[in-house]
């Protein structure tokens, strides 16, 4: 039996956690492959920014959180939402602009939000979640709820001034917020070395924020680093900063296919063949005797079936009635 749910963690311990992280990464990968498929078949309107290659980051961080903890996400946010517990069928429905989607079809791919899983929303302004996550941490401290907020952002957001204002406020007031910087090396179509002066980690350190660089392809390393900063923040010791070194396998968005002008094919080849987070974790699970290859294959096929069903749900769901366009402008 390889189906692992949150419940089995209590009896399964570390092994169950490790298998669940594998399963969650597979879920994100297979979700995104279907998004790519929908998009290229012209079934999905708008923009699609795929998280493929970065799965260990969202999963490792979100496994260190409670359901009631908060996250803010980005334009490349499907992975964060799924890792935090979002239902793939309601996500597909939203991506396709359907009434039953997470945002009633009003948000789409870049704005999935879900109060039930503490997801304050994906944000299509680069660095746009920084204030919201820090504010959620402010509420947690003020109300004494012990919730932690994680602000996911790409290394491109290191160019946004408001991020530093929030880091300053967070450290000044010892707020339980984790700044999770996903360094996938590319600000859209520009290598981060062309946009980022100095050392990335020197920036949070200048505020005295506990900061750590992690191999973002190693889900167990991400989990361990996140856990330590999250627990520290929860105790009231202030914010943390994770620099998660990872790689975006695909283009900035689905339509970004000819990429040689900004990054070489052999670089992509290296990451996909040598540094794939799902492969690496699967090899480790088998080597540890936690599960065998057949078990991993079974997880893959179970998740594929779930994702197919979720996608079908989204495709079949009805569009919203245009008469409802004016609803939800005001609470």
């Amino acid at each position: 039996m390889t189906t692992v749910t949150k419940q089995t963690e209590l009896v399964g311990g570390v092994d169950a956690l490790s298998i669940r992280m594998y399963r969650q990464m597979v879920a994100i990968r297979l979700f995104e492959e279907r998004v790519n498929d929908l998009y290229t078949r012209a079934l999905m309107p708008g923009l699609a920014h795929l998280y493929i290659g970065e799965e260990a980051v969202a999963v490792g961080v979100c496994e260190a959180l409670n359901r009631t903890d908060y996250i803010t996400s980005t334009h490349r946010g499907h992975g964060h939402c799924l890792a935090k517990g979002a239902a793939p069928n309601l996500m597909f429905a939203e991506l396709l602009g359907k009434e039953v989607g997470y945002c009633k079809g009003k948000g789409g791919s870049m704005h999935i939000a879900d109060p039930a899983t503490g997801n304050l929303g994906a944000n299509a302004i680069v660095g746009g979640g920084a204030g919201i996550a820090t504010g959620a941490a402010f509420s947690s401290k003020y109300l004494g709820t012990k919730q932690v907020a994680v602000c996911f952002f790409g290394e491109g957001a290191l160019g946004q001034g408001v991020l530093y204002e929030e880091m300053n406020l967070a450290q000044l007031w010892k707020l339980p917020v984790i700044f999770a910087c996903e360094n996938n090396l590319y600000n859209e179509y520009t290598h981060c070395s062309e946009s980022t002066a100095g050392e990335m980690l020197a920036r949070p350190k200048a505020f005295g924020i506990a900061a750590e660089a992690v191999d973002g392809q190693d889900v167990r390393a991400v989990y361990a680093a996140a856990m330590s900063l999250v627990e520290r923040a929860r105790k009231g010791d202030g914010p943390g900063f994770l620099l998660l070194n990872t790689y975006r396998y695909r283009g900035h968005h689905v339509g970004d296919i000819a990429r040689e002008y900004y990054r070489p094919k052999h670089e992509e080849q290296y990451w996909t063949s040598e540094r794939d987070p799902i492969t690496l974790h699967g090899v480790w699970l088998v080597a540890q005797g936690v599960i065998d290859q057949a078990g991993l294959d079974r997880i893959q096929s179970e998740v594929a079936a779930e994702m197919d069903a979720a996608m079908e749900f989204g495709i079949k769901a009805p569009y919203p009635d245009p008469a409802r366009v004016g609803e939800d402008v005001y609470a």
Binding site: K106, G107, I125, G131, I132, E165, N168
Partner: protein
């Protein structure tokens, strides 16, 4: 039991705002106020003087000079159980926080399909003639009024300021609340003790009249009232209407007043171009066209950056004389 009479005092505009804030903060512990020098200093205008002594520094929170930072933090705090009020010392600094206000606060509720709410108030000042030059004098209330998802209040009297502020704080949406700097100390009026609210989207007729409608906002209500007094001396009866909120906008009262008087001038301290006067004039023109004697006229600030030198600055702001002259001509007097 005999009804206890509500005591009414003469308060300044600034005192009414402070009283409204204090009463709301006593009522609801989820309210926190964030801004630059809001605590011991009580803001540069001293409007918040004394609040930190009562509510402490956990609720009256001095921030670094980081308007986007503390406004963005306010958005997140509003989404997660608090009811923050952020203080934008000079309304000109709204330019710094527009992403947080326009792309975040205003859109969170809609983008999430109604899943999240942002019950916050962004208090900002407005108004020229303090010789503060181009970056400390603007009246930018047209900007948030243009953005769906925001509500915008622009009180003109102490009574309205207190009642509208309470409504703003209790609203589950982001509200931008504009306070005229000159009015803080110069405008006085009766304010009842204790609790009362004024609903958004309800204009107030500040003075009744028959011959011409003067629509004034914020500081321009006093200008309109001054002009109305001058017009009375030449036998023109002017009605002064204060919309009190630019969004929601009480179109009905504006249109009905113009239908009654058959003439209308809209006076606002924001720049004349692409602003509040244009919107209100078109509402009146569309709604009262067949009852109007002529086009709806507008008086706003000159479309120039606000200058420093007193005679230059004074030339940019609408005056009682400007309104009087225009109204007189429209009434053929």
């Amino acid at each position: 039991m005999p009804e206890t009479a509500v005591k009414v005092r003469e308060l300044t505009f600034g005192e009414a705002i402070r009283e409204g804030l204090a009463e709301e903060m006593r009522r609801d512990p989820r309210i926190v106020l964030l801004g630059e020098d809001v605590a011991e200093a009580g803001t540069t205008f001293k409007v918040l003087k004394g609040l930190v002594e009562e509510f402490g520094t956990s609720r009256i929170v001095d921030t670094p000079i980081s308007e986007p930072g503390f406004t963005g933090l306010g958005v997140g705090a509003a989404m997660t159980g608090l009811r923050p009020i952020v203080d934008i010392m000079f309304g000109d600094f709204l330019a710094l926080v527009m992403d947080q206000v326009v792309n975040q606060a205003a859109k969170v509720h809609y983008m999430s399909g109604g899943a999240w709410k942002v019950p916050m108030v962004i208090r900002a000042t407005m108004g020229a003639t303090r010789r503060s030059a181009a970056q400390h004098s603007q009246s930018l209330h047209a900007w948030p009024s243009h953005v769906p998802g925001l509500k915008v209040a622009i009180p003109s009297t102490p009574y309205d300021a207190k009642g509208l502020l309470k409504t703003a704080i209790r609203d589950d949406n982001p509200v931008v609340f504009f306070e005229d700097k000159i009015s803080y100390t110069k405008v006085k009026g009766p304010v009842p003790e204790g609790d009362y609210t004024i609903p958004f989207g309800v204009a107030d007729i500040k003075r009744e009249g028959r011959d011409i409608t003067l629509v004034g906002t914020s500081s321009m209500v006093q200008v309109a009232l001054g002009a109305a007094a001058m017009l009375e001396e030449i036998g023109v009866s002017a009605e002064v209407v204060d919309p009190r909120t630019t969004w929601p906008l009480d179109e009905k009262t504006l249109i009905e007043s113009a239908k009654k008087t058959s003439r209308a001038i809209v006076i606002d301290e924001g720049s004349f171009r692409y602003g509040v006067t244009g919107e209100i004039a078109s509402v009146i023109a569309e709604g009262a066209f067949y009852d109007l004697d002529g086009p709806v006229r507008r008086i706003g600030a000159m479309h120039v950056p606000i200058p420093f030198s007193p005679p230059l600055e004074d030339a940019t702001v609408p005056t009682e004389r400007d309104v009087f002259e225009m109204a007189r001509k429209m009434c053929n007097k």
